[in-house]
């Protein structure tokens, strides 16, 4: 069996940043396992710009952002294995991996960092009626075909779902000569960033139909048409509102799901809201020495936040292998309620936290001129006004160690949205 201080599952933005942080914290034997044939993860196919404004103060494309971190990994001579699938992670941190080159092998890891990212919600999970012809792709699959492989999936396109990848692909397909006829969104608001709605739809006159969904798919061999209809406030199609669009391509951009089969098998406790692991202030799961960061933990809006989070996971994994992650005081629970859907992390051990701790969360609906409030038990300690909050964008509050240390015996921190 091989031995490594830290094994990182996934060589995308989270895995890369975690590896660099762990190395900077003085950990020698680090191994990144990546199933694709190159490092960088999904950023390689995200050729549009807008990445890195927070981290590098400039707008980079996905591949450029990825390369900033790949370069650091290469310069630090951190080991990585490509074309390698992790088959299993045990609860005592034995990682079983497989590749064509090395066959199946096991690694005993001092710490494991989960950085597997997420997957797109497929058609099978959407309950769309109709035929099952060729021509239906997840937006990310189409993105890979166009940007990496150089193939066009089709010429006349309808997009269901207004997630960012769907919006980006509306522009991309248009620029490559396809006609994108409509983007239908089930919810009364878009899950995508404002910037993408403006630059990917408005710029090209592509209509966005909110509160609409696909109710029929036609075509026996290949897609020939889809029908969309308006939905009521329960998401049910309203008879008489159907519109038929002839098309050869339907792209689905209906949400992302953290990819946690390995975590579940290892016995990692999962959050039913994020579909990612439940973690403490150190981004450590219920299994000691198993950390999580990036989209496998919760789906992020900006990669900058993934890198930042992964940096913390890498530092904490380094502390763990060096025996510096203390046991310390009892955990304080963080509860998300009244508009806040979840928080990451969901518990805090004050002794183990840094001077500042960023708690990230998402809201469940669009809130205008509302307040993000934080309560220490029943006392309101933070009350920040926000002009707008939307489910598509992550929110955050920053907790200070000093303030928490002033409250010994604190049991519960509540994050909620208030009107006043």
């Amino acid at each position: 069996m091989l031995n490594y201080d830290i094994v990182i599952v996934g060589g995308g933005p989270a895995g890369l940043a975690a590896a660099v942080a762990a190395r900077n914290a003085g950990v020698d034997k680090i191994l990144i396992l990546e199933r694709d044939k190159e490092l960088g993860g999904i950023l390689n196919q995200c050729i549009h710009n807008g990445f890195g404004l927070h981290t590098f103060k400039e707008e980079l494309t996905g591949p450029e952002y990825a390369y900033r971190f790949i370069e650091k990994v290469l310069n630090a001579k951190i080991e990585y294995k490509l074309n390698t699938m992790v088959m299993d992670i045990s609860n005592d941190r034995v990682v079983t991996a497989m590749s064509r080159e090395d066959g199946m092998y096991q690694i005993k890891a001092g710490a494991v960092i989960l950085a597997m990212g997420c997957r797109e919600r497929p058609r099978g999970a959407l309950n769309i009626p109709g035929y099952r012809p060729a021509g239906i792709f997840s937006a990310g699959t189409a993105q890979r075909l166009v940007n990496i492989e150089g193939y066009m999936p089709g010429r006349e396109v309808v997009i269901l779902g207004s997630g960012d990848i769907g919006l980006i692909m509306a522009r991309r397909m248009t620029l490559e000569g396809a006609k994108v006829k409509v983007v239908a969104e089930l919810m009364p608001y878009s899950g995508g960033l404002k910037r993408n709605i403006v630059q990917c739809l408005d710029d090209f006159g592509i209509p966005l139909k909110l509160s609409h969904t696909v109710v029929d798919i036609e075509g026996k061999e290949h897609l020939t048409a889809v029908t969309i209809a308006a939905v009521d406030n329960k998401g049910k199609p309203i008879p008489g509102t159907e519109e038929r669009y002839t098309c050869d391509t339907l792209l689905l951009s209906c949400g992302l799901i953290p990819e946690n089969e390995l975590s579940r098998n290892a016995g990692v406790e999962m959050s039913p809201i994020t579909s990612g692991p439940v973690v403490n202030e150190s981004l450590e799961t219920n299994i000691p020495g198993v950390f999580a960061c990036g989209n496998v933990l919760h789906v992020h809006d900006l990669v900058d936040y993934v890198s930042e989070e992964a940096d913390r996971a890498g530092q904490n994994a380094a502390k763990f292998v060096k025996g510096e992650l203390s046991e310390g005081a009892a955990d304080i629970e963080i509860v998300a309620t009244e508009g806040a859907r979840y928080t990451v992390p969901s518990t805090i051990n004050v002794d183990r936290m840094d001077d500042k701790l960023t708690v990230r969360f998402r809201v469940g609906a669009v809130y205008k001129d509302s307040f993000v409030s934080v309560y220490f038990d029943d006392e309101r300690v933070m009350h920040n006004k926000k002009r707008i909050m939307a489910p598509g964008e992550m929110e955050q509050v920053i907790l200070l160690k000093d303030k928490l240390a002033e409250k010994p015996g604190l049991k519960k921190i509540t994050v909620k949205i208030e009107n006043e």
């Binding site: 050729i47 980079l60 390369y67 166009v146 940007n147 990496i148 150089g150 404002k194 403006v198 809006d301």
Partner: protein, 121 residues
């Protein structure tokens, strides 16, 4: 007087901005919450610009396409022309981030550059 409604893209806030114009001159910008919004709105109604990203054909490389971008913004109304010049380009591996793919694309004074490395096979 003309009124234009915009969504600011300067940050995730996405402020709803209203610009009042007369004969192409900006009279007022409202709804923004910072200077970025004001600048964005003024540029957007007078000379809108975009960065174009796409891919170009590359021969003899370890990847079938190389991703590219305009090194800075180009006028929005030139997007289609810029795409044509990018599509016409045929590169040879190796190529590295920042290498010029199309010089001075469509006389904009802006180069199209590679955004990833493609090594020779």
């Amino acid at each position: 007087m003309e009124k234009r409604e915009l969504t600011c893209i300067g940050c995730p806030m996405g402020c709803a901005i209203t610009v009042e114009l007369e004969n192409g001159e900006v009279l007022s910008v409202t709804g923004n919450t910072c200077k970025i919004g004001e600048n964005y709105a003024k540029n957007e109604v007078t000379h809108p610009e975009r960065t174009v990203t796409s891919t170009a054909v590359i021969l003899g490389g370890d990847k079938p396409r190389v991703s590219v971008k305009t090194k800075s913004n180009i006028p929005k109304d030139k997007i289609a022309d810029v795409m044509k010049e990018i599509d016409a380009a045929v590169m040879k591996a190796p190529i590295h981030i920042g290498d010029v793919v199309v010089k001075n694309v469509c006389e904009t004074g802006v180069d199209v550059v590679a955004t990833r490395n493609v090594e020779a096979l």
